[in-house]
Amino acid sequence: MAERRYRSASGAPLALRCRQHSASCRELAVRCPRLQLRSLSAVTSAVWLAAYGLFVLCENSVVLSAAIFLMLIGLIIYLHCVKIDQESLLVIGSLGIQLTSSYASGKESTTFIEMSQVKDVVINEAIHMQKVIYYLCILLRDPQDPQGVSEVVPLFQVSVTE
């Protein structure tokens, strides 16, 4: 179980962990940095400053409670649906590939791709936002047309682009 350090397309540190479960079963996991206390406090103070600004202007204390409420809801949504801590790829020879993303809240979402569906695995280049990046993706076989590609599944999306 070796851990290697890399950088993402925007320069954030990443850690790659490879684990060999058996001869035909291997797990690759990319871990993003956890939520930093610094950025959390920066966002909190920004929201609070804005809320106080509004409070001074309209002198209504509802603004302050709304700010607390929004802050909490926002944080929950962010941790539960946006912030991904780890993305892992479990490759089992002859069976298939399982993609797992674990969110900061502990929620996990899993996709499984059957081996017969996998046509190939390629590294491609794409324009993403204001960047040009390389990404790893799985090509899925088109059931109707054995030569064609029905879908392209990018791997380690968040870790690579974030």
């Binding site: 390629v122 794409a126 324009i127 960047k131 390389y134 392209v152």
Partner: protein
């Protein structure tokens, strides 16, 4: 590999395949030729319908189809700012050294010039079109051209009319404007020293055999030189009413084995004739622009020509020997060429190529303060100041972008161009065990196919 330093050239234009036209094919062919010379070339254009992202063409020519909005006539909007982040990212990741923009209609080309100058890259611009001076659209385009060309390192025009036009429109110093015609494809006219017979000296003449081409002069030169140099041969390609004059000369001086008349030549056969010679002779009495001498120089021949019309401007002085249009002067010129040939002083055929890039690569990019001065002094009080302001703003924007994503973070793109490119078999052969895993032949095909469907979750923009 290139004789000089290999450059990384970025062609920028709004116009590229799948759009069809002169500019498009010029860019494509120029890129292919440069790749052959060992340079790394990439093309940046805007997305055409579903064709966006990164594609590879023949010889690993990489094309970026950027998702920029098309405004009018396949041209993107020129705001001078919105394309900076992407273009900067590409320039950095491809380690671009020269930015070559094409066509004055292309807003993207002007943007790229602007950005490249801010980033301190060398810039070349090719103008493909002629403009008027009177109507509103040309007045505006001319102003834009003045602004974007006033600090460009070098400008290429496709013809002399075009050069005159561009120099007037953009108020340029004519010295930094070169004329390189579109029509000569250097890959069609490559030197082949093995084809020539070095025991003799062969002079090639390819032109229509008419009065205007100075065939009467030629008929005077042939006997005089043949007497002087016993190893001299003449190869004459072309047909025309003056052929009879040459035949008479050949008859009179018994030169059948030394003067060969080939008759009319197809354009694709011209190179075959050219590579057999050492010296190319052009005896035209009047000429606006002589394509033949360019083709000959491209084949690595020493050119001897009359000093008429636009000819003195066509080739640099070290590639051409100019003479007055008289038998005596031309003979002197040819003798000079023969003497140079014997002493081995003639430039080797390969070294004749890619002059412009090497020249540009040695030039300095104007520092910011000089650039601002130039803008203000050159482009009129109002436009000058406005664009100087833009240049400053855009520099600040660049600093911001550098702070957001430092250059060190941007990964270097794999160089796929040319015979040593990453996707060619060549590269994989070194790694035997990898070949078993993934046959290289299917590799490039996969790259092409993957581009077809839009990846899930990945927006192209």
């Amino acid at each position: 590999m290139a004789a000089g330093r290999a450059q990384s050239v970025c062609m920028v234009s709004d116009f590229f395949y799948p759009n069809m036209g002169g500019v498009e094919s010029h860019i494509y062919q120029l890129s292919q030729c440069l790749i052959e010379r060992g340079h790394k070339v990439l093309v940046v254009t805007h997305a055409y319908g579903g064709r966006k992202g990164v594609r590879y063409l023949t010889n690993g020519l990489k094309v970026y189809y950027l998702p920029l909005r098309v405004m009018y006539n396949q041209s993107t909007a020129t705001t001078l700012f919105h394309s900076l982040p992407l273009l900067r990212y590409i320039f950095v990741r491809e380690r671009v050294t020269i930015v070559h923009a094409h066509s004055s209609f292309s807003a993207m080309a002007h943007d790229a010039l602007f950005h490249a100058k801010i980033m301190g890259l060398r810039t070349v611009f090719t103008d493909h079109s002629l403009f008027g001076f009177a109507d509103v659209s040309s007045v505006l385009t001319n102003k834009l051209l003045t602004v974007s060309l006033c600090d460009t390192n070098h400008i290429i025009c496709v013809s002399y009319t075009s050069k005159e036009n561009t120099v007037l429109r953009a108020a340029l110093d004519p010295r930094i404007v070169s004329v390189i015609p579109n029509a000569v494809d250097p890959t069609d006219f490559t030197p082949d020293p093995s084809r020539r017979d070095d025991s003799t000296v062969t002079i090639v003449v390819v032109s229509r055999l008419v009065y205007r081409k100075g065939i009467d002069l030629l008929s005077g030169i042939i006997p005089e030189l043949c007497q002087k140099y016993p190893e001299l041969h003449f190869l004459v390609g072309g047909e025309g009413p003056k052929r009879i004059v040459l035949e008479e000369v050949r008859e009179r001086y018994q030169l059948h084995d030394r003067v060969r008349l080939l008759g009319a030549l197809e354009h694709q056969d011209v190179r075959d004739v050219l590579v057999q010679g050492h010296i190319f002779l052009n005896t035209s009495l009047t000429e606006a622009f002589c394509m033949a001498i360019v083709e000959a120089a491209s084949c690595g021949l020493q050119v001897v020509s009359t000093r008429v019309g636009g000819i003195p401007e066509v080739l640099p002085e070290d590639l051409i020997i100019l003479c007055e249009p008289s038998v005596k002067s031309l003979c002197d010129g040819i003798e000079k060429a023969i003497a140079q040939l014997r002493s081995g002083k003639l430039p080797s055929p390969e070294s004749v190529h890619n002059k412009v890039y090497e020249r540009v690569a040695d030039e300095v990019v104007l520092p910011m303060d000089e650039r601002l001065d130039r803008l203000i002094s050159h482009c009129g009080p109002v436009t000058g100041y406005i664009f100087a302001l833009f240049a400053v703003l855009s520099f600040l924007f660049l600093l911001f972008l550098r702070w957001m994503t430092p250059d060190s973070v941007i990964d270097v793109a794999i160089d796929a161009t040319g015979p040593n490119g990453a996707w060619t078999k060549h590269c994989f052969l070194g790694k035997r065990e990898r070949i078993k895993e993934e046959p290289p032949s299917s590799r490039s095909a996969q790259m092409e196919r993957t581009n077809a469907p839009v990846p899930r979750g990945f927006k192209a923009c």
